[in-house]
Every structure is written in C-alpha cells, then in structure tokens.
C-alpha cells in the first residue's frame, strides 16, 4: 500500500519565458488519496497536464507504476490506467449519458474489430450501476449537454470510473458545485478509493474538503513545491499559510 504509483523527479516546465513548474519532485502512494494545493497560478494544473502527457516537459522524469511516461502521448498514458478529469468538466455534449458511459470503457485491450461490436449486456449493466452510483440513473437518456453543471461533473466522474483507472487525477472536483452537495461528491470519491481501489490525486481549493479527504498533501507556490505532509502538519505550516495570505 505504500509503494509509489506516481513518481515525479525534478519536473520542470516553462512556457515561453514563464516557468510554470520548477524542479518539482513528489510521489503518490498506491491506493491513497493525495492532495495538491496552492494559490492560483502556482502551477498545479500545469503539473497535472505534464503528468498525463498533455504537453512535453522541459526536464525531469515522471514514472507511473515504475514506468517512464514523460515521452508518451495522452492516449497511451490513459490506456495505461492514468486518467484525469478536467477543471472545465468535459463530457460529450451531444450524446446521451448512456453513450457517454459506453464509450468510456477501457480501451487498453481493444482489438481492431472491437470497434464494430455492440456493447455486451454486462457492460451496459455496469454503466447503469455507475450512473446510479452518482445519482444520474434517471437521466441516463438525456443529452449530456443539457445536464446542469453539477450533474455534468458527476457524469465526468462516472465516466472516469467506467474506464477502470488505476489512478485518477481530479482537477478541482468540487469547484462550482453547490456546497450542500459537496458531501455527496466527497462520499463517492472516498467510496471509489475504498471500494474500487483507485488512487486519487486531487487538486483542490476547498480546504475543508481536502483536509478531510487526503492522507497526504503537497503544497505548491510560484511553480515550486513548498511543503508536504499529512493534513494536520500542512494546516499549521507557516509557509503554506503565508502563501495563501491574500487568497483566503
């Protein structure tokens, strides 16, 4: 349970003249819920983007399950079991929820002619179960684009679960959700981690959420790693508090 599933060593990424990440090193333990916090502009989403292959890194190494992935492309990394959700919640808007789920099955072993198959009943059933898990079963034939923002976030989450990932990178999963519904989402996150064994690496701005969910937290500021440790320590860390002064 304590081997690292993701290891970053001295990862640096610069855009033009701006250094978004500078020599960031961290590890995410298998099966854990790990948090990534930091004020706006500290480079958290850039780091996520680097991990999932959205852009190349300038230097450093990224290992997933012991394997170097910094040169791989997004699809290849996703097929290895490393998924992410987006800050702006991306789903397939013109298709209904069921189809969104069906296309989210894992593709790692997909052979050429699997493209032309119709989904087996077990797969359909699993999709329905996951939709029920997030509370969207009744809406499963509605166009995904017509769902409310919170519902779309839940759909995106269900789609991610459908893909049977090993690790899920969540970019601000509670942003824009009605505070009264955050508990429901958190509950599902924890269940996904406990029941499905999915490692979670979460960027969060909501301190209450992340302190109560994660077992280890990394804090970034100005593109660099500032502090790391269990929630209790991070909360008391002076550097973290100073970094956030003016933010909260």
């Amino acid at each position: 349970m304590s081997e690292p599933i993701i290891e970053l060593h001295d990862v640096s990424k610069a855009y033009g003249g701006v250094i978004a990440n500078r020599a960031v090193s961290l590890t995410v333990e298998r099966g854990s819920i790990t948090g990534l916090i930091g004020p706006n502009g500290s480079g958290k989403t850039t780091l996520f983007n680097s991990i999932v292959g959205y852009h190349p890194i300038n230097s450093g190494s990224i290992r997933f399950d012991g394997r170097e992935i910094s040169q791989l492309r997004v699809q290849e990394i996703a097929r290895l079991g490393l998924l992410r959700t987006f800050q702006t919640t991306r789903i397939y808007g013109k298709m209904d929820c069921m189809h969104n789920m069906l296309i989210s099955i894992p593709h790692r072993k997909a052979r050429y002619f699997d493209m032309f198959a119709r989904e087996r009943p077990e797969v359909v059933e699993r999709a329905e179960q996951l939709l029920a898990f997030v509370g969207l079963y009744e809406k499963r034939f509605l166009r995904a684009g017509s769902l409310s923002f919170g519902q779309q976030k839940l759909l995106e989450f269900a789609m991610a679960l459908m893909n049977e990932p090993t690790v899920l990178l969540l970019d601000e999963p509670t942003a824009g959700i009605n505070p009264t519904l955050i508990n429901g989402l958190l509950d599902r996150l924890k269940r996904a981690n406990a029941e499905f064994g999915i490692t979670l690496f979460i960027i969060e701005h909501n301190m209450r959420v992340i302190m109560n969910t994660a077992s280890k937290i990394y804090c970034m500021a100005h593109g660099e790693l500032l502090a790391e440790g269990p929630p209790a320590e991070i909360q008391r860390d002076r550097r973290v508090i100073e970094a956030y002064l003016g933010e909260h």
Partner: protein, 357 residues
C-alpha cells in the same frame, strides 16, 4: 411481420420507389440515377463531417481517384494504357463483352480498394490538422489531384480518357447503371444504419464532441478516423468507377475532381438536410438535387452564383438543416425506444437520489 415493416419502413419505401422509378419515369432515369449518386455523396460526407466532426472540402478526391484507378485497370488489363490514351493511337481498340465486364468488375473493385488505401495515406498527413486547417488541406488535396492528373500524359492528361464502350443498347445501358448506382446507395444506407448502431458510431460522435477528451480517455482515435475515412472513400471510389462507365468519358478537372460542383454539393446537401443523422443527408440530397434539376435552366447562367448564395444562406441561417430543425421542434419523437417520458422525471415521480440536483 408488421414489426419488421414498421422498423424498416423508410428502407422499404426507398427500395420500392427506387426499383420502379426508371420504369415509371424513363425520360429522367439518368437524373434519378444521379440522385442516388448525390445521396451517396451526402451520406459519405456526413460520416466524416456530421458524425465525426471533420469537415472535408476535398472528398471528391476519392471519387476521382476511384474513377481513374478503374479506368487504368479496365483498359490496362487488355491494352497498354499509355498507348490507349495517347493521341497518336493507331491500333483499333475493341473490347469483347467478357473483357468489358471483367474489366469493369475488377476496375470497380480496384477503385474502391485503391480509394480506401489513399484515404489511409491522406489521413496520415491530414488528420493531425483540426477544424479549418483540415478543411483547407483536403481542398488542397483535391485541387492538387486535378492539377497533377492534368499533366500526367499516361492517363491522358487534360484531355482525359475515353472509357471502353458499354456492349449493349442504350436502353440497357441506362438501366444497368441506374440499378448499379441505386444498389450502391441502398447498400450504403443499410450499412450506415448498422455502423452507427455499433460502438463505432458512438466513438465517432465522441471524437466530434470532444476529441481531446476521447484521447484522454484512451480511445484509439486514429483508428476510428482512418477507418471512417477509408469507408467513406471506398464507397466514393466505387461510385466513381461506375460513374466513369456511365458517362463514357473521364477528365480531371470537370468530371473526376470537380472541386466547385460535386465537391461542394456534398457539403450543402448535408447542411440542408441535417448533419450527423442517418436521414439528414438523404433528405438534403433529395431536396437539393430536385431543386437544382428543376430550376437550373431558369437561372440563365447565374446558377453558380445562386449556388454560392445558397451555401452562404444555409450556413448562416439554416445550419441545423431539415432534420435538425425537426428534431428541435419535436424532440419527443426522436427519443430512443423504451425510455420514460421526460415529464414524469421532472415532476418527480421517480425518487431523486441525493447528490444530483
């Protein structure tokens, strides 16, 4: 039995109408044959444009490629192509019936396969481009083909190639090619209905809705894109081969790669009828072709100006097309079978689970 009829009603109607049309309206059977070609054009364009979100302005490339490949095979099996197409030809060319039909069959097959191969190759170059760049790139491909063939002596350059003559009476010829085009279009529609009901259809739509998301979920997007274009190209190539023999003469700029006519019609027809639906392209093709045939002569030379205006008006004011408009007006009729009516859910008859609003 009635369930089968109800589920396949449009297909049965089309089959019936298509089968009897050349006998009911022998004078315009060529125009109706072209209508089937238009339906094929629209439906193949829609695979990429409407279902997958890749708007191609150069699909005509595969039509022309199939045409030329077929011609080369049809002639080349029995005679030297270079000699056949050269102006200084002195030997008298004759094809026996067997030669004609074997050549035609093999040529058509080669045209379809060749076009599909070209699509895979084109995909390597062009699928890294998105949106407008893809459109312009494909347009460039079609224009490049027209220009390059125009200067290639071996296939007749700009003078084109006279196809082997069909052995049979004009009446038989008309019916033969009519039913070929009809059959091809019909098979395409049935094939597409099946295709769109499989994972392939869902994947295409996912690529259209958000390709980056599909990649981030591990979808083999390149596989789907290549296959979709290959399917599209194969049907276009075969239709090109048939069309070549139907008209008896092929030429690069106006017949094989007509970038400003057939090529554009594809796009307009789908826009008119409704992108991304099975019947939208068909409806659009019927409306466009019928309208065009009826009004063409009245335009006194301004036809193409009218075409340009039609494109502009459709894209600006009527982009969802007929079927799209119908789907907006009567959404209930388009819900999948076996679902509850939305009102019941809204009223709250089903218990609302916590977490969803």
């Amino acid at each position: 039995m009635t369930l089968f009829v109800r589920r396949n009603l449009p297909f049965l109607l089309i089959f019936a109408m298509g089968a009897v049309a050349p006998f009911l309206f022998p004078d315009i059977s060529n125009e109706i044959a072209v209508l089937w070609l238009m339906i094929l054009f629209a439906s193949t364009w829609d695979i990429l444009g409407g279902q997958m979100g890749y708007n191609s302005l150069g699909n005509i490339f595969f039509f022309g490629a199939g045409m030329y490949i077929c011609a080369v095979v049809q002639i080349g099996l029995y005679y030297d192509v270079g000699m056949y197409t050269s102006g200084a030809r002195t030997t008298h060319i004759v094809f026996t019936n067997a030669q004609y039909f074997t050549g035609f069959a093999l040529g058509t097959l080669a045209g379809g396969v060749g076009a599909a191969v070209l699509a895979v190759a084109a995909g390597f170059i062009l699928f890294g481009l998105r949106g407008p760049y893809f459109a312009i790139g494909t347009l460039g491909l079609a224009i490049a083909a027209a220009e390059l063939i125009s200067s290639w002596e071996w296939v007749g350059a700009a003078s084109g190639i006279s196809m082997p003559v069909f052995p049979g009476a004009p009446e038989t010829q008309k019916l033969f090619f009519y039913f070929l085009l009809f059959a091809l279009a019909f098979v395409l529609l049935i094939f597409l209905r099946w295709l769109y009901s499989t994972n392939f259809g869902i994947a295409l739509n996912a690529i259209r809705d958000d390709e980056e998301k599909a990649e981030a979920m591990g979808l083999h997007t390149r596989r789907y894109k290549r296959t979709a274009w290959a399917i599209s190209a194969a049907f276009l190539g075969v239709s090109g081969a048939i069309f070549a023999n139907m008209t008896g003469f092929i030429e690069p700029r106006d017949i094989a790669f007509p970038t400003t006519t057939f090529n554009l019609y594809m796009v307009v027809m789908v826009l008119l009828g409704g992108k991304g639906t099975l019947w939208g392209p068909v409806v659009g093709a019927v409306i466009f072709h019928t309208l065009k045939e009826v009004t063409w002569t009245y335009f006194l030379g301004w036809q193409y100006v009218a075409l340009g205006l039609l494109i502009v008006v459709t894209i600006v004011y009527f982009q969802q097309g007929v079927v799209g408009w119908l789907m907006e007006k009567y959404p209930r009729r388009f819900l999948p079978r076996g679902t509850q009516q939305p009102d019941q859910r809204a009223i709250g008859l089903a218990p609302q689970p916590e977490g969803a609003e």
